[in-house]
C-alpha cells in the first residue's frame, strides 16, 4: 500500500473517470479472468449433482443447496488422503534434501571459492535450464535399474535435479549480499569454516533460506511428469497424478469430486504461499535477475 512520502509518479494528475477506464476496469477484468477458474473449482466442489448438470433450472454461478457429498466421496471412497500424504512426504523430503545440498554448494562456490568455483557456478546455472521433459525417459531407465521404480525414493531423489540448481543459484545470490568481513572476523577469532557457516552465515541467510525453501516446496508439489512416469501403483501416487489417472473412470467424469481434488490439492500450497508471499515473490524475481 502507498506510504506517505513515497514517490507516486504522476498518477495524481489523472481524474477519476479516466482512472476507471484506463486502470480499474482493465485490472478488474484481468483479475476476474485470473481468479475465475478458482471460483469455478470451489463452486463445483460444493454443488450437488442435480445443480451441476442442470443450467436451465439453476444459475450455474450460484449454489442453491451446498453439499459436502463430493468431498465425502473423495476422502472416503478414493485413495485421496493417501495421495495427499505421499505428496506431503515427497515434497518435504526432497525440499530438505535440496536445501541441505544447495546451502553447502552455494557456500562452497560463493565463499570458499575453491579452484574452478566459477565454472561450477556456471554449470549449476546451465543445469537449471535443463527441462524435465527431456530428462524423464533416461531417468525412467535409471530409476528402473536402481530398483527405485514405484517408490517414494524415485521422486525424492529426482526432484532435486530441478530444485538444487534453482536453490543453489538463489542462495549464491543471497550469500553475496552478506558482508564477507563478518566471516573474516570469526575466522580470525579462530572459528573453523563449519562454525562460520553455522553460526554466522546461515543465521544471516535465513530470509534467503525461507525464500528458497518455499519456492522449492511449491515446485516439488507441482511436479507432475516424474511422478506420472516413475509411480505406477495407486497407493504411491501424488495428488496431481492420482487426480488425473484414478478419478476419471472411463467416460464418466465426476466433476464434483474432481474439482474437490483440485481444490484440496491446491489449498496447502496456497496457504503456505499466503503466509510467505514476500519471500515467494523475492525468490521468483531473484531467480530472473541474474
Amino acid at each position: 500500500m502507498a506510504r506517505q512520502g513515497e514517490p507516486q509518479g504522476m498518477d495524481y494528475l489523472e481524474r477519476l473517470p479516466r482512472r476507471v477506464v484506463t486502470l480499474y476496469l482493465p485490472l478488474a477484468i484481468l483479475v476476474f479472468v485470473l481468479l475465475f477458474p478458482f471460483y469455478w473449482m470451489t463452486t463445483t466442489t460444493f454443488k450437488p449433482d442435480e445443480e451441476l448438470y442442470d443450467y436451465a433450472r439453476f444459475n450455474p454461478f450460484w449454489i442453491v443447496h451446498p453439499t459436502l457429498s463430493h468431498i465425502y466421496k473423495l476422502l472416503f471412497e478414493t485413495s485421496y488422503p493417501q495421495w495427499l500424504f505421499n505428496t506431503i512426504f515427497v515434497t518435504v523430503a526432497s525440499t530438505i534434501l535440496s536445501l541441505f545440498s544447495s546451502v553447502c554448494a552455494a557456500y562452497a562456490i560463493e565463499r570458499l571459492r575453491f579452484t574452478g568455483a566459477r565454472y561450477v557456478g556456471l554449470a549449476i546455472f546451465l543445469a537449471y535450464l535443463v527441462p524435465p521433459s527431456i530428462l524423464f525417459i533416461p531417468l525412467a531407465a535409471i530409476i528402473f535399474q536402481l530398483g527405485l521404480y514405484d517408490s517414494d525414493w524415485a521422486l525424492i531423489l529426482t526432484y532435486p535435479t530441478f530444485l538444487v540448481p534453482f536453490c543453489t543459484w538463489l542462495l549464491m545470490g543471497y550469500f553475496r549480499t552478506i558482508p564477507y568481513e563478518l566471516e573474516e572476523c570469526a575466522l580470525i577469532d579462530g572459528a573453523s569454516r563449519l562454525q562460520v557457516l553455522w553460526w554466522i552465515t546461515l543465521p544471516l541467510a535465513v530470509p534467503g533460506l525461507i525464500s528458497a525453501g518455499i519456492f522449492a516446496f511449491t515446485l516439488s508439489w507441482n511436479e507432475f511428469i516424474y511422478a506420472l512416469t516413475f509411480i505406477s501403483s495407486s497407493e504411491n501416487k501424488t495428488v496431481s497424478v492420482g487426480a488425473i489417472t484414478e478419478l476419471v473412470e472411463g467416460d464418466v467424469y465426476h466433476w464434483g469430486s474432481l474439482m474437490a481434488a483440485a481444490l484440496f490439492g491446491s489449498l496447502p500450497v496456497v496457504i503456505l504461499y499466503s503466509f510467505f508471499v514476500e519471500y515467494y515473490v523475492s525468490s521468483l524475481t531473484g531467480a530472473v535477475k541474474e
Binding site: G9, W40, P131, I134, P138, V269, V288, K289
Partner: protein, 313 residues
Amino acid sequence: MMGADIRPIAVRRRWIARLADDRNFLGLVFMLPAAAILLVFLAYPLGLGFWLGLTDTPIGAPGHFVGLANFVSLAHDSVFWLAVFNTTFYTVVASILKFALGLYLALLLNRRLPFKSLLRAIVLLPFVVPTVLSAIAFWWIYDPQFSIVSWALIKFGLLHQYIDFLGQPWHARWAVIAANVWRGIPFVAITLLAGLQTISPSLYEAATLDGASSWQRFYYITLPVLSPIIAVVMTFSVLLTFTDFQLIYAITRGGPINATHLMATLSFERAITGGHLGEGAAIADAMVPFLLAAIMFSYFGLQRRRWQHGSQD
C-alpha cells in the same frame, strides 16, 4: 596451561585441522551432495538420453544400437511433424500473448492503487497452484455440454450453440493456449513489475515536462530500462512453454486426432505408454536443437534492443 605450550601454532595443529581449512578440500566436501545428485540424476541421464535415442530400447529390457534409424523414421512420421508444428505454434502464440498481457498487467499494477500488495499476491495465484490441478479446472470449463463459457456467451446472446472446445483441432489448440497463457501471465507480470519498480518516477516527470506523450514515455523510458529483464523472463517463459507437458496431458492428452500433441507429450506417449523408450528419447533429443534455437532467439533477439538503444546514446 596455555602458557606452557610454546610450540608454533602451525605445528600443534593436526593434519585433519589443516585439511579442514583447505579451501579446495572443503570446497570438494561441500559440493559433494549437490554434485552427486546432479551428476547421477541430471548429467548422466542427459547423456543417456542421447544414447537411448540411437537404440531401440523397450521398457525394462536392454536395447540394441540402431544408429539414426529412430530419427529417420521420425523424419517420415507425419504425427511427429504435426507435433513439431503444434509445439512451435503453441510456444510462439502463447509467449506473445503472455508477454503482451503480462506487461500490461505489470504496468497496471505499477500505478497508484489501493491494496497493491494484496492484488499482487492474488494475481500470482495461477502460477502457485499446481498446473495439473488448475488444468483439470480448465478441462471442466471446456466441457462440451456444461461449459460455463459457452453458457455465459449464449446467455449474453453472443452465441447460439455450445462450443466444442476440445473436439475440433483448432478450437482445442486455442483452448490449451488460453489455459497456458492464463497460467503464464502472473509470472511475466510479477517479474516485470519488480523491474518496473526500479524505474525512477522522475524520469517520467522529466519526459512529460519535455512534452513526451504516454506512448513515448513507454517506448523511450520503460521498454529500454526493462529490456534486460524482459529478455530473461521471456527466455524462461519460452523454455517452459516449449517443454510443456502437464497442461496438455491433463486437458487433451494430445487429442483430438493429435491436434494438440506437443513434442513432450508425444515422446511420453511413444516412450512410456507405447513402451518404445528409444523412439521417445529420439523425440526428446529432437527437442534440443529447437529448444536451443528458441532460447537463443528470445534471449539475443530481445537483448539486442539494449545495445541498439545503448549505441544511440
